[in-house]
Amino acid sequence: MVALIGAAAFSHFETLKTGAEQLLGLPTASDVAARKTATSDAPQPPQQAGSSIVELKAGRNGHFNAEAEVNGRTIDVMVDTGATMIALTYEDAERAGLYLNSSDFTQAVTTANGVARVAPVTLDRVSIGDITVRNVPAAVAERGRLKTSLLGMTFLSRLSRFDMRSGILVLQE
């Protein structure tokens, strides 16, 4: 059953094209631009009372990156509909105050590079801009396995909608 649930848990599958910056983990110029999140004032569909909107610009390769606040700490994430859960790198999990030991990595998930072990966790609150989602199931990857933390479906499916048009991804609470 675990294998079934984890069947598409991590399908983050990113080609390396930017060379040195990517390998060193340094943000590229387009990355920085892409991470700027802003509350929309563009003519988007009618906004319901109390529903927040966040806009993200496409970064390199068309991916969408955002700054997420997890347990009060800022973490860079990539929007990934192919990831079942929010997936945190080991390092980002530590920054968010989640200290794990090897016995916590109990769940097997299928990735594009074979089966990986992850630590299932529940995040009290995850915010992007004005959008906040509470009690989000997430998984922490083993040290060095995952390059970027992923904003997977456990977060995305709690939004009322998210859509991409002309290179802008709009998330609506």
Binding site: S11, F13, H63, T148, F162
Partner: protein, 235 residues
């Protein structure tokens, strides 16, 4: 016979009464509208006459038949009035009945735009049935994948020579670095939505268990929208 004519007259008078005796309404109608109205009134009159003739001794039953038809007519008119709202309901019902991955063509205001809709899978992901180089296959919609990614078996079906692949493209996964073989697909089509010359990667045998519809395809669309249980792709 005179009784029937009297009845027909009463029915017509009744219809006129609907306009609250306002003959002005009739004078504002053009000939076609008057003709349609007259035909309608005549049909109703004929039906009422036949009914009264058949059910001469059972007036209650005649009344029941009349009311049934009136209710049916009202239902049709109401459905027609709310056809916009109902089309949403029809889509939802159709969406529940079709298997996940099966795409529905959605009408679009813009004639040059094609739109398809697909329902969420039971595990919360979205997959679509697409034709890759004309061969049907399921792909998982994955904004975290840089390109379309194919399993070797499906790549072979799509006409890629899998014996002659070089796994040279480094790929970052959730489980470390791996390599895949870059190829170019002639067409990736989801219903009427067709994208030509799509960059793709063929994964090593056994490494992925699903094909991925990644950004090399999604970037070429005008828009895609995830809304509750449905994903709508427009291109």
């Amino acid at each position: 016979m005179i009784a029937w004519l009297l009845l027909a007259f009463l029915v017509i008078a009744g219809v006129l009464l609907l306009f609250r005796g306002d003959v002005q309404v009739l004078s504002t109608m053009d000939n076609t509208e008057i003709a349609i109205l007259a035909a309608g009134v005549l049909l109703i009159a004929v039906y009422v006459l036949i009914l009264l003739n058949d059910e001469r001794s059972r007036p209650l039953r005649a009344l029941r038949y009349l009311l049934t038809w009136a209710a049916f007519g009202l239902f049709l008119v109401t459905s027609y009035t709310y056809r916009q709202e109902l089309s949403g309901v029809v889509y939802r019902v159709a969406g529940e009945l079709i298997p996940a991955g099966q795409t529905m063509v959605v009408e679009s205001e813009d004639k040059s735009e094609h739109a398809v809709r697909v329902r969420k899978r039971f595990d919360g992901h979205f997959s679509v049935r697409a034709a890759v180089n004309g061969q049907p296959m399921l792909l998982l919609v994955d904004t975290g994948a840089s390109t379309v990614v194919l399993k070797p078996a499906d790549a072979a079906r799509a006409g890629v020579d899998t014996r002659d692949l070089s796994y040279t493209a480094p790929v970052q996964t959730a489980n470390g670095l791996t390599y895949a073989a870059p190829v170019r697909l002639r067409t990736v089509a989801i219903g009427p939505l067709v994208v030509h010359n799509v960059d793709a990667l063929v994964a090593r045998p056994g490494s992925v268990n699903e094909n991925l519809l990644g950004m090399s395809f999604l970037m070429r669309l005008r828009s895609y929208e995830f809304s509750k249980d449905f994903l709508t792709l427009r291109g």
